[in-house]
């Protein structure tokens, strides 16, 4: 079988002057996959997309689409299409002519009745029947977004590249478009590569997510892997696990952890907290260690209540944010440490927590997620 992958990057690098935008990146994306490149601005995710689309040429390495090397092909000879962040609809053309733009080019030789049929089909796919005669500026942001999608999909590319396509939409519309994008991808069965800085967006739609930093991957995996077990401090922080501690392993196999897998270890943090963590295999006593705890894993109860957790501390509530279903508590542990906890609002209401309350907080050994020792050295 000649075809092994939909898109492949082999040791691709791209510099702009002194800045390394993409740094020796390799990647294989399977056919029909919904793959997201996630990272803060400047991490190289958009450059990676443009390298695949041919709008940038790599300084080193190769780009393969559908098993063929396309590194030196211009964008108009590649079987990929981009949905741009600002939509990039042609303002001087109607919606119909925008969508027909690619079909009508001489290189494609599509007959005019066929063009009309394909355009109508594309408009139907994105639920914009009847909008063909309008101009882009007569459409709302969400509608323009869908036209951009239709314009790219009508050419039936092997791979669709989406550059933060929902960035300009408001929250409600963004949610609806996420469901819509999944539906369309299932319908057309094309590989989607999706660039975003929004972890919720990446998680909710993707089969796999690559978290990017400084032009390379910090972690690559399913949304669940990345959310539940971030491998580095950067990923943990970026995915919103705001509780990150540094410390040192002080004992191996110590403490009775509930439901813990692998070897438990005891850690003393820089501020003197003693914490039991599971999954400690391969860590040796005295070694420096970092771990993260998701706010959802941190439980909070009144001091007088009897309850069980591997790690329990006395603490003071210093901040409280009501978020609807859940309430976020900012809790001080001694002078230097503070930790975020997310509890169900019904629990918060039941106990009537308020700022200044002394409380008991805790989490289990399995909720400690140990991070790689050097957060920069991980490569996928």
């Amino acid at each position: 079988m000649k075809r092994i992958s939909s898109v492949e990057l082999v040791r691709v690098s791209k510099r702009y002057g002194d800045v390394v935008a993409v740094d020796n990146l390799s990647l294989t994306i399977a056919e029909g996959e919904f793959f997201s490149l996630l990272g803060p601005s400047g991490c190289g995710k958009t450059t990676t997309l443009r390298l695949i689309g041919g709008l940038e040429q790599p300084d080193a390495g190769d780009v393969l689409i559908d098993g063929e090397v396309v590194t030196d092909l211009p964008p108009y000879e590649r079987n990929s299409n981009i949905v741009f962040q600002n939509y990039a609809l042609f303002p001087h053309l109607t919606i119909e002519n925008n969508i027909a733009f690619g079909l009508r080019l001489k290189s494609r030789r599509v007959a005019e009745p066929e063009v009309a049929r394909l355009v109508a089909e594309a408009l139907e796919l994105v639920h914009l029947e009847g909008y063909g005669a309008r101009r882009p500026n007569q459409l709302s942001g969400g509608q323009q977004q869908r036209v951009a999608l239709a314009r790219a999909l009508v050419l039936r590319p092997k791979v669709l590249l989406l550059d933060e396509p929902l960035g300009a939409l408001d929250r409600k519309l963004r949610k609806a478009m996420q469901i819509e994008l999944r539906r369309i991808q299932h319908e057309v069965n094309i590989t989607f590569i999706y660039v975003t800085h929004d972890q919720d967006e990446a998680m909710s739609m993707s089969d796999r997510v690559a978290v990017m930093r400084n032009g390379n991957f910090e972690q690559l995996g399913t949304p669940r892997e990345i959310f539940q077990t971030p491998r580095t401090r950067f990923v943990a922080d970026f995915m919103g696990a705001s509780n990150i501690f540094s410390g040192r392993v002080v004992a191996l196999g110590a403490g009775a952890a509930r439901g813990a897998s692998g070897r438990t270890i005891q850690i003393e943090t820089e501020s003197g907290l003693r914490v039991i963590s599971s999954d400690g295999q391969g860590r040796s006593a005295g070694a420096a260690v970092e771990f993260s705890i998701r706010p959802e894993a941190v439980q909070v109860f009144p001091r007088d209540r009897d309850w069980i957790a591997d790690n329990k501390f006395e603490a003071t509530i210093v901040g409280k944010l009501y978020l609807g279903d859940v309430t976020e508590l900012e809790v001080a542990l001694g002078d230097d440490n503070s930790i975020s906890s997310r509890i169900q609002s019904s629990i918060d209401q039941k106990f009537g927590f308020k700022e200044g309350d002394r409380v008991s907080i805790g989490w289990n050994a399995e909720d400690c997620n140990l991070l790689s020792s050097g957060s920069d050295t991980t490569r996928c």
Binding site: G53, G54, L55, P74, P75, Y76, S80, N81, I82, F84, N86, A88, L89, F90, P91, H92, F101, G102, L105, K106, S107, R108, R151, A152, L155
Partner: protein
């Protein structure tokens, strides 16, 4: 500022406008007065306008002016578009210098430009006449058209060209089907600004024109040398009205290009 200020300011503003436009108004008024050498109002007449329309010299001069202004507009807009495109799109050594150089002719005295052109044409033994006027006009119009089109280019959305190429259009197709349509309002504005720029020029034309190639401003000047007649006032009034119309059209296109 207190409540009286806006009124004070608009009175001041009115005075400024009076100061700027009263002389033009006086010219218009006098163009309708019958007395030949007087400067006082002595009744209404259209005779100077009739004289203007019947004057063969003025007709010839108008023809020559248009024969120069129209090709100037077309050629300098075309060259300006290409120059702007080159300067804006390609990075090369000294590009900033090239772009800065465009401002030079705009702040140099016409007199010096006129002298240098005269000197140049003489030194390459080019006979003065309509051709030299045309060359001169094109040469001083190119900086204007280039700058206007560059200004428009800076507002151009580059991702539109990325999108066109991504959809399968090669560089030429992208330029014709996407870049140029976007640039059109700027090109039109440049053309509409160049027309009065060429049509009105006196000093430079004065130096590079030969015998029998008098443009309208040169003709007006020679009429004045024979004494300020109300016919000049009538002609002046007509010349005021023409660019007014062009300004209105030009502003309209420029507004459209902004929005």
């Amino acid at each position: 500022m207190n409540k009286a200020s806006p009124r004070l300011l608009s009175i001041g503003c009115g005075a400024v406008y009076l100061f700027m436009y009263l002389p033009l108004l006086v010219l218009v008024v006098y163009s309708f007065t019958p007395t030949e050498y007087g400067v006082a109002w002595e009744g209404f007449t259209l005779k100077w306008y009739i004289a203007v329309f019947n004057n063969k010299y003025i007709q010839d001069a108008l023809k020559i002016s248009l024969m120069i202004a129209i090709p100037t507009v077309i050629i300098s807009t075309a060259i300006g578009t290409i120059t702007a495109f080159t300067l804006y799109r390609y990075k090369f050594l000294g590009r900033a210098l090239y772009q800065g150089a465009l401002y030079v002719p705009l702040v140099m005295p016409d007199l010096v430009i006129g002298i240098s052109l005269l000197l140049f044409y003489t030194s390459i033994s080019l006979d003065l006449g309509i051709l030299t006027i045309l060359l001169a006009h094109i040469s001083f119009s190119i900086p204007l058209t280039t700058l206007v089109i560059i200004a428009r280019m800076q507002r151009l959305d580059r991702t539109l060209e990325d999108a066109a190429m991504d959809l399968g259009a090669d560089e030429w197709t992208t330029m014709w089907k996407v870049t140029l349509p976007q640039l059109m309002p700027g090109i039109l504005a440049a053309a509409l600004l160049t027309f009065p720029w060429s049509f009105n020029d006196f000093v430079i034309t004065f130096f590079v024109s030969g015998v029998g190639s008098s443009t309208l401003p040169l003709r007006v000047y020679s009429m004045i040398r024979l004494g300020v007649s109300p016919m000049v006032n009538a002609l002046g009034t007509l010349i005021i009205v023409a660019p007014l119309i062009i300004v209105i059209i030009g502003t309209y296109f420029d507004r459209r290009s902004v929005s």
